[in-house]
Symmetry: C2
Subunit: 336 residues, 2 copies
């Protein structure tokens, strides 16, 4: 039983109207007499007609699909953003082409070009870095792009995020006012400005406010993964650190478990503050004290912003960089 290809033409013929009329009822154009509309609707149902989105895309130059670039689909931070993105997208009838970038510049470029070739109406970019080639790509296309949950080194791109610097400052401050003489900065790649500039500056701001000298040796750079956190444990212990601010939850979870497995009691002998408030913070024991971010909202608002840009509302320059409120929650990885 082969699938019969029923096209708009079949419907038109069967309903004794023109293709244009069928197109009108399918697209909800009001300029159709009710009776005609009903007749067409009946035929559509009877024939089980389904508009071909590809043909529609070619003719209308709108595909109602947006591309989403995600560093890693298994990373809880980005996955939670993706949830918000997906919900709002489906609310606005957009589909999502989701592509893993593995944070690899080559691959990112490849997937973005692919997305553009597929004529996506817009792109949500999750990632911390925009290479020169990628910037070029973004600049030479009319397809709107919004950066979600990070700061990319491209000032032209709209973004939705929190104030990472302020948040990092507060987190560090919390640790400083907890009787810690020194606080470590455990981070993902510093070449990402979110880590190497924003958060690091927030960390330094706090130190300065408390008259603590910044020590480069207390900055521990990793690739940001759980494994890296776990593996760095002994270095960090050897460092003499008793309190750290960590830029990523996976990283923090790895460190926490590493410490626990090494017999270090958190929070009694070591305090940790993390950054993203993903569910990892609640999964581990002790639960991680963390900066809180409206993750779902960041995704949702990014997508909402994108819909506006796709509709051509790129007038309002105020809205270009949306900074959402963050918070802080004390859990079990810090002392009362």
């Amino acid at each position: 039983m082969e699938k019969q290809s029923v096209t708009i033409y079949t419907v038109a013929r069967e309903a004794r109207v023109s293709m244009a009329t069928v197109s009108r009822v399918v697209n909800g154009n009001p300029n159709v007499k009710p009776e005609t509309r009903q007749k067409v609707l009946d035929v559509i149902k009877q024939l089980n007609y389904r508009p071909n989105a590809v043909a529609r895309g070619l003719a209308s130059k709108r595909t109602t699909t947006v591309g989403v670039v995600i560093p890693s689909i298994t990373d809880p931070y980005f996955a939670e953003l993706a949830l918000g993105i997906d919900d709002v997208a489906s609310m606005y009838k957009y589909n999502i082409i989701l592509t893993n970038s593995d944070s690899d510049d080559e691959k990112i470029l490849k997937v973005v070009r692919n997305l553009l070739a597929k004529q996506v109406d817009g792109i949500i970019f999750m990632g911390h870095d925009v290479s020169d080639d990628l910037r070029n790509e973004f600049e030479s296309t009319n397809t709107p792009v919004v950066v979600a949950g990070s700061i990319a080194n491209d000032d032209n791109l709209p973004s939705v995020r929190i104030d990472y610097r302020a948040a990092a400052k507060e987190a560090t401050e919390f640790l400083l006012t907890h009787g810690n003489q020194q606080v470590g900065y455990i981070t993902g790649p510093l070449r990402y400005s979110i880590n190497g500039t924003e958060r690091l500056n927030g960390y330094k701001d706090a130190l300065a406010d408390h008259n603590v000298k910044f020590e480069q040796s207390l900055v521990v750079e990793t690739d940001g993964s759980y494994q890296a956190g776990y593996a760095k444990t002994k270095d960090i212990i050897a460092n003499g650190l008793k309190a750290v601010y960590v830029t990523d939850d996976s990283l923090a979870a790895g460190l926490l478990n590493g410490l626990t497995d090494a017999g270090v009691n958190v929070p009694a002998d070591f305090e940790i503050v993390s950054s993203n408030d993903t569910n990892y913070t609640k999964l581990v024991r002790p639960m991680l004290t963390s900066i809180t971010q409206p993750l779902y909202d960041i995704g949702a608002i990014s997508m909402r912003l994108l819909t506006k840009l796709m509709d051509g509302d790129d007038n309002n320059d105020d809205e270009k960089n949306v900074i959402l409120d963050h918070g802080f929650v004390e859990r079990q990885s810090t002392r009362k």
Copy 2:
């Protein structure tokens, strides 16, 4: 600076060849004289020509995109499958339209219809249940579908998975031979045959082998979430249970943390075996003893199978249901 629309026609004109020839070189058709090919390639590069995938899709009836239906992108089990899917897909030059289904029959139907309207070349379905309407949809399309990481109640659909019944039996057996007189079965929705039939039967198989009477009261049904596991803790304690087999890692993690927070010592006073070997099992403390599954491979092989089906290799009926090997790993939620 508007994006110039350089089409295949522009290239043809500039290179002084026909559109057909340009199409041939773009598609790697060997029937082109080397010099001609080079000339065209030069023009393509110079003009920065990018083929429009939508037009290509309409003309060729192949979109090189596949639809992936995922119950929840933030569920570690499905996310890890998705990783394998994505890797193999990009290996075969396919893009992925990823859609959250929220395990909601209505929404699943909607997203599948959408995928079909977008003319995806194939669909990877992750989910435990195929409604009648959905079955209908699948049966009346020529678009191949493969079920990844579950058993859907539709015998016509190819699937890639492990032997859930055997795995559940082994897990239960392990607990039984550990001196536990009774073992609980903590599960996600029983209406899913993976839980209500396969795994439950494996559990019963083990009980029967050990002459333990099956007690309905030891079967605790939940929605399968972390929250549900946490919330059910006191009921499970009240039940008198000291050992349980759990059908999902999120659920198991919730229960584990619930027990710990309630002052129950795992594994000394309570043993847990989980099912999926996601990274949740290694994140929690104590780490969860679990059935192991080749999650990445399940995704990867599903996608590989799908590529074969999309190429029309639907001859080999042996390959229709791929059962991968599973294993078992003792960690810290069970006694030595």
